[in-house]
């Protein structure tokens, strides 16, 4: 059953994010998150107690402690008690859970937030713990090495070359010049190989950040936002875990999620893609049939700021914000999780008059 049969109209009515920084040694996760929550609630005029459902995304492995999300909850102010849930992945999936909750009618408004601090640890090592614990993780293949395998497969298949990847990187950082929250803004050299064929410029910056959105249904959304970003469709799909059984040049899960979200029914004018590596933008553009007429990652995308567990939610927020301010009528937002784009979420957002 396609989500186009949705029972209610739900929109993103507000978005806020932190400045994404290489290191936030002086800030706890709660301190990093709180200004973002205040900003997103302030944009709607809602108080914490007026939110019907709260859902967050984060990962204990980044924080280095079990139940790390409980400290953030203390900061949210869950008193009197709130209806609340948490996903151990990117906040884009927290948004998905909240969207479902609003569809049931059990809630009219939802606060979604996510955050990640990568600076305390060695992210490339930490992410190897996502891999099959028996056959892959003991080899410690890191996230850049796996992405490099994917990039080389793309080059071997003739879908891209290093020069094209460099233009993706340059375009992203150029676009980020106008984004005060981005970690890497403006031109920077492609640099040396990190893992061939990926150079420094092809890789996302490692850093800390947080993001939040407010969702609302129907007339409530119209009351809270002059031009709500209506979620016309949203879907997510997962692929096999072992990269050896996948064709890394394709993203069938992105393709399927986009079909289910109705992305191909009409062209989009904007796409915010959660492609942490330049080569992954190539994969996603092919899966989504995105041509040069579409503004891809006008925010700068993950190559300009890639806070773990928040970068996917930032894509949804950035796409929604463009609709809010009238810069887009129909936008696609994408989020990913796992090695080499294993799991993908696609949402289609529209302005009311679009």
């Amino acid at each position: 059953m396609p989500p186009t049969g949705a029972l209610r109209d739900v929109a993103i009515v507000a978005f806020a994010q932190s400045d994404h920084l290489k290191s936030t040694d002086e800030l706890s996760e709660v301190e990093m998150l709180m200004p973002v929550l205040h900003e997103v609630l302030g944009a709607t005029g809602l108080a914490t107690g007026e939110i019907d459902f709260t859902c967050s995304g984060s990962a204990d492995y980044l924080a280095g402690r079990a139940f790390s999300f409980t400290m953030a909850l203390d900061g949210v102010g869950a008193w009197p008690p709130i209806s609340e849930s948490h996903v151990e992945t990117d906040g884009a999936w927290a948004l998905y859970e909240a969207w479902v909750k609003l569809l049931t009618g059990e809630a009219d408004t939802a606060l979604v937030y996510s955050y990640g601090k990568s600076s305390p640890g060695s992210l490339r090592d930490v992410l190897t713990r996502q891999l099959d614990p028996y056959y892959q993780a003991p080899l410690w293949p890191d996230s850049v090495a796996l992405a490099a395998l994917q990039a080389q497969a793309l080059i071997d298949a003739g879908h891209t070359d290093e020069r094209t990847l460099a233009t993706v990187a340059a375009r992203s950082r150029d676009a980020a010049s106008d984004n005060p929250h981005a970690q890497v803004r403006g031109a920077r050299p492609q640099g040396d190989y990190v893992v061939q064929p990926l150079r420094t410029g092809d890789c996302p910056p490692i850093g800390d950040g947080a993001a939040a959105v407010v969702l609302a249904a129907g007339d409530r959304a119209r009351a809270l936002c002059a031009r709500p970003a209506w979620i016309r469709g949203i879907d997510h799909r997962i692929e096999p875990h072992a990269i050896g059984v996948r064709d890394l040049t394709e993203s069938p899960s992105t393709r399927l999620a986009a079909e289910r979200a109705g992305a191909f029914e009409r062209p989009v004018d904007t796409a915010e893609l959660h492609a942490p590596f330049s080569s992954q933008e190539v994969v996603l553009r092919r899966a989504l049939d995105l041509g040069d007429e579409v503004a891809v990652n006008p925010s700068g995308g993950p190559l300009a700021a890639n806070p773990m567990m928040a970068a996917g939610l930032v894509r949804l927020g950035e796409a929604a914000a463009r609709i809010h301010r009238g810069a887009s009528d129909r936008a696609l937002a994408h989020a990913t999780s796992g090695p080499c784009l294993q799991q993908n979420l696609v949402a289609v957002l529209e302005g009311e008059d679009a």
């Binding site: 059953m1 709260t54 090695p339």
Partner: protein, 391 residues
């Protein structure tokens, strides 16, 4: 808010592994697949019949795998489907089932596999929960170190006799003998042995403490059309809710948290329950330390404040009592942490389906599944019934 258009949700398949201290014969993937396969068999379905997978577990440190849903996608037949991972501390097994139920209620999907697991033999749960300096230490030396003072507070507040906790433990361990999936099968255990077992965290003794288990629990949730095709009687979801409150704050009542009371009130309102003691036939509540039975009896509205221990003492919560609590043997007999909440939800469903076997409560028509986690701050509950909800 209007929920009038929600699709009714039915539980048509339930599968568990035999919970044990260490499943050395299977990988994590093998463990979860075993439970999922049993749930599919119970529902008369196969992998292609599943539209989406919702998976839950407690902290990733328990197995040392970050976001293990990525690695488990293949084992759970999720490739090409949506797979969503929930983590709400100890309540996660219940929360995961509720997130899955909402996918059906919202008509996003027709049939959903939901599963929760923990393979605790991969690590040491007590120390996995105990944080080194400089982190904050809300749980101290394992969960028992955190909860023992709150048990003592309950005893002081209510004047409950010291022996109440041992009665709960003895009951649950005997109930477990009737549940083939329960971890602990202590055939020769006596009440005297419970009462003389070593003191771990005063006033909690060794035999009043949950074990550390490897196990998984899966359920198949579906819509009315799916329920019509079910070979076995379905359990219907009459109400479900989650509530959270902060870990620590001035005025928090650790003995009877407001979030638990609010969550129960929400579920009862959805299900049209006005007198839970009279209208609910069986309860599967999350009792990791024996004294939490009387504490939750009060928190959930089955007894007046200060009176919960009297239900335990008078045998009301025995399997043949007026309000059987944890006929499965409960968390005190089986505790794969991330799965424990879902086992409560599933056991409640088994009761109203009439499929609980030797630990079946005669004539159970409505049952409550309850889970909690964190510092008594995360609650998830559902009420299931033998009849399709009205409206």
């Amino acid at each position: 808010m209007s929920t009038a258009h929600k699709e009714p949700v039915a539980v048509v398949g339930i599968g568990q592994t035999k919970h044990v201290a260490a499943r050395k014969d299977v990988s994590i993937a093998g463990l979860v697949r075993e439970a999922a396969r049993r749930a599919l068999d119970d529902a008369g379905l196969d992998w292609p019949d599943i539209d989406a997978v919702v998976i839950g577990k407690a902290p990733d440190f328990f197995e040392g795998v970050m976001m293990p849903e990525l690695y488990l996608a293949d084992a759970l037949g999720a490739v090409g489907k949506p797979m969503l991972r929930v983590h709400t501390a100890g309540s996660v097994g219940g929360s995961t089932a509720l997130v899955a139920a909402n996918l059906v209620a919202a008509r996003v999907h027709g049939t959903v596999l939901t599963l929760a697991f923990e393979k605790q033999s991969e690590s040491n749960a007590m120390w996995g929960l105990s944080l080194p300096i400089p982190f904050q230490q809300p749980l101290l030396a394992g969960a028992g170190g955190f909860f023992a003072p709150h048990v003592r507070a309950y005893m002081r507040r209510t004047g409950a006799p010291d022996a109440i906790g041992s009665l709960v433990a003895f009951k649950d361990r005997r109930n477990a003998l009737k549940n083939p999936y329960a971890h602990l099968h202590e055939h020769d255990l006596t009440l005297e042995q419970v009462q003389s077992s070593p003191m771990l965290w005063d006033p909690i003794r060794y035999s009043e403490t949950c074990p550390s288990s490897d196990g998984a629990c899966a359920m198949i949730l579906t819509d009315r059309a799916g329920a019509d095709r079910s070979p076995e009687p379905p359990a219907w979801v009459h109400g479900g809710a989650m509530r959270s409150e902060p870990t620590l704050f001035a005025g928090k009542d650790f003995v009877s948290p407001q979030a638990g009371r609010d969550c129960a009130a929400d579920v009862y309102a959805q299900a049209g329950i006005t007198d839970p003691r009279a209208e609910i036939d069986a309860v599967e509540m999350y009792v990791p330390f024996s004294w939490y039975e009387p504490m939750w009896l009060e928190n959930l509205g089955f007894a007046e404040e200060g009176e919960g221990w009297k239900l335990t003492e008078s045998g009301v919560t025995e399997l043949d009592g007026d309000l059987p609590v944890n006929p499965s043997g409960g968390v005190l007999s089986t505790n794969p942490i991330g799965a424990s909440g879902m086992i409560r939800f599933a056991e409640a469903a088994l009761q109203v389906r009439g499929q609980a076997g030797e630990h079946q409560v005669d004539g159970a028509r409505r049952a409550l599944g309850h889970a909690y986690g964190g510092g008594s701050q995360f609650f998830s509950m559902w009420l299931v019934g033998a009849e399709q909800p009205a409206g």
